[in-house]
Symmetry: C2
Subunit: 463 residues, 2 copies
Amino acid sequence: MSTDAVLTHVDSQLGAATERLMELLRIPSISTDPAHAEACQHAADWLVADLASLGAEASKRPTPGHPMVVGHITEGVDNPDVHVLFYGHYDVQPVDPLDLWDRDPFDPQVEDTPRGKVIRGRGASDDKGQLMTFVEACRAWKAERGTLPCKITFFFEGEEESGSPSLIPFMEDNAEELKSDIALICDTGLFGTETPAIVTMLRGLLGEEVTITASSKDLHSGMYGGIAMNPIRVLSRMIAGLHDDQGRVTVPGFYDGVPELPQDIRDQWDGLDFDATGFLGEVGLSDPAGEADRTGLEMIWSRPTCEINGITGGYTGEGFKTVLPAKASAKISFRLVGQQDPHRIRENFRAYVQSSLPADCEVTFHGHGASPAGQMSTDDPMFEAARQALSLEWPQEAAYVGCGGSIPIAGYFKSILAMDAMLIGFGKDDDQIHSPNEKYDLDSFHRGIRSWVRVLEALSAKG
Amino acid sequence: MSTDAVLTHVDSQLGAATERLMELLRIPSISTDPAHAEACQHAADWLVADLASLGAEASKRPTPGHPMVVGHITEGVDNPDVHVLFYGHYDVQPVDPLDLWDRDPFDPQVEDTPRGKVIRGRGASDDKGQLMTFVEACRAWKAERGTLPCKITFFFEGEEESGSPSLIPFMEDNAEELKSDIALICDTGLFGTETPAIVTMLRGLLGEEVTITASSKDLHSGMYGGIAMNPIRVLSRMIAGLHDDQGRVTVPGFYDGVPELPQDIRDQWDGLDFDATGFLGEVGLSDPAGEADRTGLEMIWSRPTCEINGITGGYTGEGFKTVLPAKASAKISFRLVGQQDPHRIRENFRAYVQSSLPADCEVTFHGHGASPAGQMSTDDPMFEAARQALSLEWPQEAAYVGCGGSIPIAGYFKSILAMDAMLIGFGKDDDQIHSPNEKYDLDSFHRGIRSWVRVLEALSAKG
């Protein structure tokens, strides 16, 4: 049976699908901010209701943090021998600085832009819009055929943007229920604008919050300037020392377990014709700033990094205050690759900071997540089936690529549930995820839904 | 005629004087924050009314910023051949971080502490409490004698904590009206707790706000980490480069015009028996952090410094956000001594920052004040007269000292009005000015009022 009718249904119902996404986008489910805990509950409730409307047995599942949503459709499916799990996250990034948004981030709208229609709002791309591509594919299938092509488990979390503290315990506690043939994850992007991509290489992430304290209180820089230690100066010096002049990270042992790129992957990436200058030009930059001897794709996909995500100390308001602050702090993260051990790097980083402290300074650390890099096995024939299905929908052949971001869930499916994970997404580089004015192309949403229809068919046929 | 009766009057009316100060402290006249402009007007009005109650011809004088208060008592004084001007400022520092205050900073209270009674609240010491010591001395004199000892001009500004942008034009425009024999300024401290001090050496101040921008918007550190320039890293490296490993400032030409201390002043300072360890111990520190080859008093009185007063960039809220920020900024100030030229140092600093910028970064600068250091001439016999008068009131002989802070007004009296300035104040090192929980010892307030009674007598007798 061809999927043409299902795809036609998707086309005709795109307006209604967009309206449903807008409803979800209006819920300000910022997981990292305790003030938005209620909104996270609300988003989970919304999803439970939406899955129920597809005929799923769905429920909100409490955790010590924000709830999970789990739903199952196992009865009356076309091929009960195939069982896929779909993962997405309903939580979103904080929205500051608010004044850089052109509209209320939680009052989404479809906008006409020179590059086509976009859905504008926090979470439009990361990850509510992507999550809903799969849900809408199922809805269209069910509406047109009355059944679904295979058994499906939906698994949505609400803590992805805050380090997923509840995820591992939840997966461990519910391993039997979640176990399926393969995990499908929609939280990644196209390569360019027309090439669908299956991510087979994911960087890990280690976060550290460092606070350096000196005096017991803020001091007047007239009275104490010169004689008292300034923690901003100490913090700056520590940060400045994290990279050498070739852009390499100086933390001892940092490159242990970092592999060189295999020649076949290097060839494939060279074939992708990545334009670093154009990629950077989109955001007002021009010069690759990573390790001096690496290509642009290596810098973002296969090399580890150290980034300063935030820094604060002393007076930061309007005007000037001649204060010598008592403390200063920074949020620092490391993107990890290959076999880098996050726990070992955390230890070595902390030891480096300790060793850089002058007299009169103390440091406290607060860890935020520690996930190793992930590497998918593309030997599984499901990968090739999905790649061919995607290639039918888009102008260009689908490609296996790397991803600079961290999607630790992929590793957890492997380590906890012994499942492979297939990362397929439709975001674009200019989606401004984690930034003001986030958007998702209406075309990404539309073709994304159609893509899942095709992938579901391909995976179910295999069974 | 002895001043005993006036001093007795001061003693008996201390409670009423304290109440008046509390009224002034309740007005949140933070000059650096535009939201408090109305409070600055209110404080000025309060002072005009208070001076009028002494019989002064007083008025609030508009400026492009916060108003000046000027008052004159010239008729019916004991010695019309002597004319002193008294300067103070009614504006106060910002109060953040508010959560470190033990009480509302603008709900002042007299508190019993193990070291005696203190007046607690923002501005108690800097400078409302100090300002009122002089006003109350005049009030007591007038109440007891019916006259004042000499002609007096009161000159209060409301922009001292925000760089005094209106001060020079106002002094120039009103030079004839303000010209007097000498300026008395009460915005400094005792040496230790029992030694009154006349400051004859003041550091200048140059403030610079530096903002480094890289990408055109905040980026996701997964997508761009490694390839995109991080402005926090650039800013940290620039700051780390501002000092060498001996604690010397590296800005080119920075030490041009920095004199070595004359031997006689060095001997006098050695005699003051300054305990750097004890001084630092009060604020939880132990190790002098300035230039390696300098004494503690040199570090705070006669050596120039470079301090980072504030830094901010990226995500600084609760939790973690893996953002690559578009910009980062720091507030940096320099304390200047001797003949250092603030404008030249500003140029050289900006050139240093520009030269440290990598590709893809831009910098903007915002200057905050540029005042050279000040050096008083103690040859004027008024200095010795005041020093002896102060010595009568306090347990220890009064001393000529340096001051690490900047009181640019002293230099302006010299350059604009050709007047000497005498800096006498009663603050203590633990007053926590510019910090949470600012206080002024009730004893400082009391003896401060008595001190001015004695100084006024000594200066008027001279005429």
